[in-house]
C-alpha cells in the first residue's frame, strides 16, 4: 500500500513538472508576511503599485510617513512652469535596474507613454488624462506637457519606472515581465508561486541603501480566519486582520497590534434623480439621522472615523474640522417635516400620497458593506423612511443609479482632487461608468473643485477645498459614513515601523509594511 501511495505521489509530482528553486534564505534577517490580497501582475504600466511603496520599483517621487512628496529617481521634486502646463524632472545619476542596465530618461518616457497607449490595458490611464506628451530632451531629463493646468500632477509621478528593453517586441498586456519584473527598487522578485507566495530578495546594489531585511516572503491567504489561525501558529511575522480578529491579540506578550488610519471611505450615494432625495433638505436629514459613531463602535470594533465628505480627517492640510454631521434624529425628523414628508398614522412618512422610499443596494460579496447597509437601513426606518436593503452587483447598482442609494467605497489620502473631482463634479453627471454615480450637481462645488485643481498656489488650493467642504455639507449629495482604520498584528521584532495614512489598497504595497526597506531587526 505504501508503495502504491508513493507511486501516486511521484507520478503526480512528475505531472506537476515542478522546478526546484534554489535553496531558501540568503542568511538572516528574513521576514514572513501573511497578506490578504495577491497582486494580479507586477507591471506598473498595467496598474501595479501606482502610489509608490512598490518594493520592486522606484517612481520619480515617493512619499514619507507624513505623505509629503520626496524625490526618488528624480534628483529633486519635479517643477511646473508658471502656467502649470509643463513639468520637468531631472533624473538622479548612476541608477541601475537590478539586471545592471543603467536607467535613462527614455525608460521614463516609455513607461508613461505605454500607460497612455490605447492598445495597452492600463487601469491607471485616467490619472494621466491631463498629459498631452512626454519627451526626453536628453538622457537625464523628462518633460511632461499638459493639456490643462493640473496642480496635483506631481502626486502621480510615484508610478514605478520599467526598463524599456524588457518590452522589445513584446505585447505589454501579456508580457513575461508581468510576473517576473525588473526594477530599480530596494527588492527584487526571486520567486512568485501564484496563489501561494512571493519571495523578495534585497537589492544590495540599490542606489539609496541596501535593505537590512534580506528576504521578505509574502504568503497569500485570502481567508481571514485561515490567516488568523496561521498567525497564531507562529508562521507569520505580520499579517492584516479585520478589527475584531486583530483585537484578540491585545496585550499578548511578544505581539504588537497596529491600527493605521486610512482615507478609505464607505459612503451612501444618494440619487439626485429620485424625487424623494432630489430635495437637499431630505439629503441633509439623512445625513443628520444616521448614527455614524454607533456603526464604528459595533461594526468596526472602534477602528474608524466618522465621514462627512470624501476628505479624510487625517489629512490635516485639507480637512475642515467644522465639516461634520452631528447625529440628531429629532432634527432629522424636523427637516423631513419641513420638506413636506410627514408621518402618517402607520408611522411611515409620505408626501402627496407618495411614500418616502429609498432602496439601499450593496455588492453581495462584501460583508462590511452589508453590515453598513443594514445599519443605515435601520436608522432610516426609525425616521419613517421605507429603506429596503438589497444585495446585488456593482454593474446592477450602476444601472439603478437614478432610483436607489448604494454603499460605495474608495478614496486615497494624497490629494483631494482624486477623491472628489470625478465623484462630485457635474461635468461627470450622466456620463457612463463609475463617475459622479449620484448625478450630483452643485455649481459652487464645481467652482471650488475647478479652482483647487488649476491653482498652483497652496494657500488658494487650501481655501478652495475648505469652501468645497462647507458647501457640500450644506448640500450633501451623499451620506459619507466612515473612514476605515486598517488593523495589523505583528511580532514585536522590528525597528523602523512608521504609520502612514493608507489608501483603499493595503495588500502587499501600502499597509504597515509600506516602508519595510527601512526596517531592521530589534
Amino acid at each position: 500500500m505504501r508503495t502504491v501511495l508513493g507511486f501516486v505521489l511521484l507520478g503526480a509530482l512528475a505531472v506537476a513538472g515542478c522546478s526546484v528553486p534554489e535553496q531558501g534564505p540568503a542568511g538572516p534577517p528574513a521576514m514572513v508576511i501573511g497578506a490578504g490580497q495577491e497582486p494580479d501582475n507586477l507591471n506598473p504600466i498595467l496598474g501595479y503599485a501606482p502610489d509608490g511603496s512598490s518594493k520592486v520599483f522606484d517612481g520619480l517621487v515617493d512619499r514619507d510617513a507624513r505623505l509629503a512628496l520626496t524625490p526618488r529617481l528624480a534628483q529633486r521634486l519635479p517643477e511646473a512652469s508658471p502656467d502649470g502646463l509643463t513639468w520637468t524632472a531631472t533624473l538622479r545619476q548612476g541608477v541601475k535596474f537590478s539586471d545592471g542596465t543603467p536607467l535613462s530618461a527614455q525608460d521614463v518616457v516609455f513607461t508613461y507613454k505605454s500607460v497612455l497607449d490605447p492598445k495597452v490595458n492600463s487601469t491607471i490611464a485616467s490619472r494621466y488624462d491631463a498629459v498631452a506628451e512626454v519627451t526626453a530632451p536628453d538622457d537625464s531629463t523628462v518633460v511632461f506637457k499638459l493639456k490643462y493646468a493640473y496642480s496635483p500632477f506631481a502626486q502621480y509621478l510615484t508610478l514605478g519606472i520599467v526598463p524599456r528593453k524588457a518590452f522589445d517586441g513584446v505585447d505589454v498586456n501579456a508580457a513575461p515581465f508581468n510576473t517576473a519584473p525588473v526594477g530599480t527598487g530596494p527588492y527584487t522578485v526571486s520567486q512568485w508561486r501564484k496563489g501561494d507566495r512571493m519571495v523578495l530578495k534585497a537589492n544590495d546594489g540599490h542606489w539609496d541603501k541596501a535593505p537590512a531585511i534580506k528576504t521578505v516572503t509574502f504568503v497569500y491567504v485570502t481567508d481571514d480566519n485561515a490567516r488568523a489561525t496561521r498567525m497564531a501558529s507562529g508562521e507569520f511575522d505580520a499579517t492584516v486582520l479585520p478589527p475584531r480578529l486583530a483585537r484578540t491579540y491585545t496585550g499578548r506578550a511578544g505581539y504588537r497590534l497596529v491600527q493605521n488610519p486610512s482615507a478609505d471611505y464607505r459612503g451612501l450615494g444618494l440619487p439626485s434623480a429620485l424625487p424623494f432625495t432630489a430635495d437637499p433638505k431630505v439629503r441633509l436629514a439623512i445625513n443628520t439621522g444616521i448614527n455614524r459613531q454607533a456603526m464604528i463602535d459595533t461594526i468596526l470594533a472602534g477602528a474608524g472615523k466618522p465621514a462627512a465628505t470624501p476628505i479624510s480627517p487625517y489629512l490635516d492640510e485639507w480637512y475642515d474640522p467644522a465639516a461634520t454631521f452631528d447625529f440628531d434624529a429629532t432634527a432629522a425628523g424636523r427637516l423631513l417635516d419641513d420638506a413636506g414628508w410627514r408621518i402618517g398614522p402607520d408611522g411611515k412618512r409620505a408626501k402627496d400620497g407618495e411614500r418616502a422610499r429609498l432602496p439601499i443596494l450593496y455588492p453581495a460579496e462584501d460583508s462590511l458593506r452589508k453590515d453598513l447597509a443594514l445599519a443605515v437601513g435601520s436608522d432610516l426606518a426609525k425616521l419613517g423612511i421605507d429603506a429596503a436593503v438589497e444585495a446585488t452587483t456593482f454593474e446592477l447598482i450602476l444601472k439603478r443609479q437614478k432610483e436607489a442609494a448604494a454603499i460605495w467605497g474608495g478614496g486615497d489620502p494624497y490629494d483631494p482632487d482624486s477623491a472628489a473631482y470625478t465623484l462630485l463634479h457635474s461635468r461627470y453627471s450622466g456620463q457612463p461608468g463609475y463617475v459622479n454615480m449620484t448625478l450630483y450637481n452643485n455649481s459652487q462645488v464645481d467652482a471650488a473643485l475647478d479652482t483647487a485643481r488649476k491653482s498652483l498656489d497652496p494657500a488658494v488650493r487650501k481655501q478652495s477645498y475648505r469652501d468645497f467642504q462647507k458647501v457640500f455639507t450644506g448640500d450633501p449629495g451623499w451620506a459619507f459614513l466612515v473612514f476605515l482604520d486598517h488593523t495589523y498584528v505583528m511580532r514585536d521584532k522590528w525597528n523602523g515601523i512608521e504609520s502612514q495614512v493608507e489608501p483603499h489598497d493595503h495588500g502587499m504595497v501600502h499597509a504597515v509594511w509600506w516602508n519595510l526597506e527601512h526596517w531592521s531587526p530589534k
Partner: protein
C-alpha cells in the same frame, strides 16, 4: 468467458465511440459557457479594474472593452476563441495578464497531485470502513461508522478545513497551515509531503463517507446472496467470505460511480485550496468565473469536461474488464 482478443477489440470500440461522442459534448459545453458568461451580471472590464473603476475615465474603459472585443456578439467571440483553441492557442488570461497555457501549466499539476492523493486516500478509507461496518452489521462499530459518515457528509468542507487548521496547525503545531513549503524553505519532497497532509487529509475525509456508506450498502446486499450464504454454510471462515466473495461482486457498481464522483471532488478541492492557500487551479477557476475571463474559463471548462468524460470512460473500461459478462455501452 470472452476471448481476450475479442475483449481488446470491444474495449477499443468503446473508447473510439466515446471519443466521437466527446467532441460534440465539448463543443456544446464550451459554447454554453460563453452564453452563460455573456448573461452573467459581471462585466469583465469592470472586474479587471477592481476598485480603480471608481473614477476611471469612461472613454478609457470603453477603449479596453474594444481591445478585448467583449462587446462583440457572443457567436463571434466564441468562433474566434474556438478557431485559436483548435490550434492549441488558448490566448491570454484577462484577469491574470498571462498566457492561459502558462496559468494552467503553473497550477494544474498541484491540483492533480492534491486530487490524486485525496482520491486514493478517500477510496482506501471508504473501502476499509465500509467493509468493517458491513461485516459487523448492527454492532457498535457499524453504528459509529455510519453515524460518523452521516455527520461528515453534512459538514461543509470549508468548516472541516478551518477546524483541521485550528487543531493541527495552531493548537498541536504538528503540521504547517498551508502553502506548498514553509516560507523560507525550498521545495523538496519532505516539505511537499508535510504540506500536503492537511489539505489532502481534509479533502479525503470529506469524500470518504460517501464511499464508506456505498461499500457498506453493497456489501450487505452481497452478503444475502445465495452463493455467499452457501459459502458461509460450508463453514468457510468469515474473512474469506466477506473479503473474497462478497466484496469482489459488490465492488463492480462502485467502479462505475467513481467517474461520477469526480465533479464532487473537484468542487471540494476548490474550497480546500482556498483554506490552505494551495496554489492549484481551483482558485484560479473561481477568479476566472468572477472576472468573466473568457479565455481562461473556456480552457478550464474544456479541461474539466474532458476529465469527467475520461473518468467515466476509465470506470466503464475497468468495469468491463472486471466483469466480462457486462455488455459494452449497454
Amino acid at each position: 468467458m470472452v476471448e481476450p482478443r475479442a475483449l481488446v477489440a470491444e474495449v477499443t470500440r468503446l473508447v473510439l465511440r466515446r471519443l466521437a461522442f466527446a467532441v460534440p459534448v465539448l463543443l456544446v459545453v464550451s459554447f454554453g459557457l460563453f452564453l452563460l458568461a455573456k448573461a452573467s451580471p459581471f462585466d469583465p472590464v469592470e472586474r479587471y479594474f477592481g476598485v480603480r473603476i471608481i473614477g476611471a475615465d469612461p472613454e478609457r474603459v470603453a477603449q479596453i472593452r474594444e481591445n478585448w472585443g467583449v462587446d462583440r456578439p457572443v457567436v463571434e467571440q466564441y468562433t474566434a476563441w474556438l478557431g485559436h483553441a483548435v490550434t492549441g492557442d488558448f490566448g491570454d488570461s484577462l484577469s491574470l495578464q498571462q498566457p492561459v497555457s502558462q496559468v494552467i501549466g503553473d497550477r494544474l499539476g498541484w491540483s492533480t497531485l492534491l486530487l490524486a492523493v485525496s482520491f486514493t486516500l478517500a477510496l482506501l478509507l471508504g473501502l476499509a470502513l465500509g467493509t468493517l461496518a458491513a461485516w459487523r452489521q448492527g454492532g457498535w462499530l457499524d453504528r459509529a461508522i455510519t453515524s460518523g459518515a452521516y455527520v461528515l457528509e453534512a459538514a461543509p468542507v470549508f468548516w472541516l478545513g478551518l477546524g483541521a487548521l485550528f487543531v493541527f496547525a495552531q493548537q498541536l503545531q504538528w503540521l504547517p497551515g498551508g502553502g506548498l513549503t514553509d516560507a523560507d524553505q525550498a521545495l523538496d519532497l519532505d516539505q511537499l509531503v508535510r504540506h500536503l497532509v492537511l489539505p489532502a487529509g481534509v479533502l479525503a475525509i470529506s469524500q470518504a463517507p460517501w464511499f464508506a456508506l456505498f461499500v457498506r450498502q453493497n456489501l450487505l446486499e452481497a452478503l444475502t446472496q445465495d452463493y455467499v450464504i452457501g459459502a458461509r454454510a460450508r463453514g468457510l471462515p468469515d474473512r474469506t467470505v466477506v473479503l473474497g466473495h462478497a466484496l469482489r461482486t459488490s465492488l463492480l457498481p462502485f467502479l462505475t460511480l467513481l467517474g461520477a464522483r469526480l465533479p464532487e471532488l473537484i468542487s471540494g478541492a476548490l474550497l480546500v485550496e482556498t483554506v490552505f492557500s494551495w496554489p492549484g487551479i481551483a482558485k484560479a477557476t473561481v477568479d476566472a468565473a468572477l472576472n468573466v475571463d473568457f479565455a481562461l474559463l473556456g480552457a478550464l471548462t474544456l479541461l474539466a469536461t474532458a476529465a469527467v468524460l475520461l473518468g467515466n470512460l476509465v470506470a466503464d473500461v475497468l468495469y468491463a474488464l472486471a466483469d466480462p459478462r457486462v455488455g459494452f455501452d449497454g
